[in-house]
């Protein structure tokens, strides 16, 4: 037994409402007379230009070019970073070399002084006087 069987058997489906005579015949004419006038834009078929056709390809190419440029810039940036590191290293190495040279020169001077003092049997005081003479 369907759920609405009781109602169908008791009340049925008959429409108990009525309308004034000729209502539906008149309704359409009355409504169309009241219906506001509207202007619709004539939708002219749009002309497909060459640009329309190639636009997707151009956009795609531009996108790839952009990505390639981005990679190139990133690579340059990384390379310049490496070079800077190398330069810094070089400068650091050069600095230590200079320091080594200076130390070597100092050592040579001391060695030479010792040699002169030993060979000429000079004491410290004589050496001092000798140096003063050179400076003057």
């Amino acid at each position: 037994m369907a759920k609405e069987d009781y109602l169908l058997s008791k009340c049925g489906r008959e429409n108990p409402f009525k309308v004034p005579e000729g209502y539906f015949d008149q309704f359409t004419d009355d409504l169309m007379a009241k219906l506001p006038e509207r202007t619709f834009d004539e939708e002219a078929p749009r002309k497909v230009t060459l640009w329309d056709k190639v636009k997707p390809v151009v956009y795609l190419a531009a996108m790839f070019a952009g990505i390639a440029a981005m990679f190139a810039v990133a690579e340059d940036f990384m390379q310049s970073g490496d070079e800077a590191d190398a330069k810094t290293e070089l400068v650091a190495t050069g600095g230590s070399a200079a320091t080594t040279d200076e130390m070597a020169a100092d050592d040579a001077a001391i060695d030479y002084c010792n040699y002169v003092m030993n060979e000429n049997e000079m004491d410290d005081y004589s050496m001092y006087l000798y140096m003063e003479e050179i400076v003057e």
Partner: protein, 182 residues
């Protein structure tokens, strides 16, 4: 109407030059079925007439938004039932549901365009106790035997929810009729 060809009318509707003529065919074809739906909700003929006119005027003012993939009847039903809901909610702001049901029942008795017998009057009184949306679901299914799928498109609700709503409505109406039958 036998000479109504929906495909042909929808083609004419797409052309701005034949749009008004096509719309006239639509009004002629759908006015009766929409009227009865509206009338069962608002009860009075004058209110139903006003709402039917509003429905078609609204449809005409938005005709360019009608998508051909939906059925014209579904689109029109949706507009009509929304008009009814707006109308009824405006009414319910001034009267609670039970008082409104009584007022509408009195209107029915006095209405010269209501020719139902005692049992049909009882059925209408029972329907007036339902919430508006549930009453719409009941009317579409009980009187028009509309499929749940089509109702689902009109209300934007799931088939399951509609079945449940109809089942509850039938139960309420049946109880009312049983309680008030002599």
């Amino acid at each position: 109407m036998k000479d109504y060809d929906e495909k042909e009318v929808l083609l004419q509707l797409q052309e701005p030059s034949t749009r008004r003529k096509a719309f006239e065919a639509i009004v002629r074809h759908y006015s009766s079925q929409l009227y009865w739906q509206i009338r069962r909700i608002v009860i009075g003929h004058d209110d139903a007439n006003d709402l039917l006119q509003n429905t078609f005027i609204k449809a005409w003012m938005n005709i360019e938004y009608f998508r051909g993939d939906a059925k014209m009847s579904t689109w029109l039903y949706r507009i009509a039932l929304n008009e009814c809901l707006t109308f009824m909610s405006r009414r319910s702001q001034t009267l609670p549901l039970d008082e409104m049901a009584e007022t509408k029942a009195e209107e029915l008795v006095a209405d010269q365009y209501f020719t139902g017998d005692e049992v049909q009057l009882l059925l209408q009184k029972a329907l007036l106790t339902l919430p508006d949306k549930q009453r719409m679901v009941f009317n579409l299914r009980y009187f028009d035997e509309m499929s749940y799928d089509e109702m689902s498109q009109i209300f934007g609700t799931t088939v399951g929810a509609l079945k449940s709503s109809y089942h509850i409505a039938v139960k309420k109406v049946e109880d009312y009729v049983k309680r008030h039958s002599k």
